[in-house]
Symmetry: C2
Subunit: 144 residues, 2 copies
């Protein structure tokens, strides 16, 4: 469904959110350990999130990644997915047609649309904050 890059990006963002809510910056090393991902690859994805203004990075000693506290509540999964995978998850045709819309639908256009709209809805209505809270309270997990 999502690319590996996207999976790592989402989990990393949640972990950063958890730590920023407690005023702690985290390094790619720590992040990769906590979300069980390849460190250098994860660092690259973090760079993309920084470029898209989802998170902030601070270089140099005592540096690391953090996220503004107000952004923890307002940032939605959809934004992270978009920053990493682009909009293909929304806009691509389920069967790969170049043009696929109401006027020229692929065989599964209508049925597919229902599922995708639900996915879109889910991503647009799920904030980092919600996900971070569940991890903090031990309800959900970032690895294993």
């Amino acid at each position: 469904m999502f690319s590996k890059a996207c999976e790592y990006g989402i989990k990393a963002a949640i972990f950063i959110a958890i730590n920023s809510s407690e005023n702690r910056r985290v390094s790619p090393k720590e992040i990769a350990e906590e979300i069980d991902s390849p460190q250098a690859f994860t660092a690259k994805i973090l760079q993309a999130l920084v470029r898209h203004n989802m998170i902030k990075s601070v270089r140099g000693a005592q540096g690391g990644f953090e996220i503004d506290k107000d952004k923890i509540a307002t940032t939605k999964l959809s934004q992270i997915v978009y920053a990493i995978d682009g909009d293909k998850i929304y806009n691509g045709c389920g069967l790969g047609l170049h043009t696929c819309d109401e006027n020229h639908p692929c065989p599964v256009h209508d049925k597919f649309k229902v599922v995708r709209d639900e996915l879109k809805d889910m991503l647009e209505n799920t904030s980092l904050e919600q996900l971070a809270l569940d991890i903090k309270s031990g309800v959900s997990f970032l690895k294993v």
Copy 2:
């Protein structure tokens, strides 16, 4: 969402169904043209569908691919997807955790489950016949 292989497989199966309903066998060449896919790659995917008993192939002169008429109605998209992509679309964790279930859920487990169940439902309840009829009547399209 689906792999290219799966997209080609679904479209090829629909095209074969259309033609088999009119007692015509079709070649990989014809199929690839009609669904706008790479021919040799498509042929490989067709082989997989043959091995999984979704379609039949007849070698030699006047040979080609066909599908039993009764199978056109009973074959569901889910079977084609499973034959090509396996069950990862159903069973994989949305964030790539090795273990992700009610007892040890990833951060999006519940929300993701809703979407995936809907996808599963859609695939399990859509037959080749329905899709082929829409193509025949010009309501939907296999390429462009």
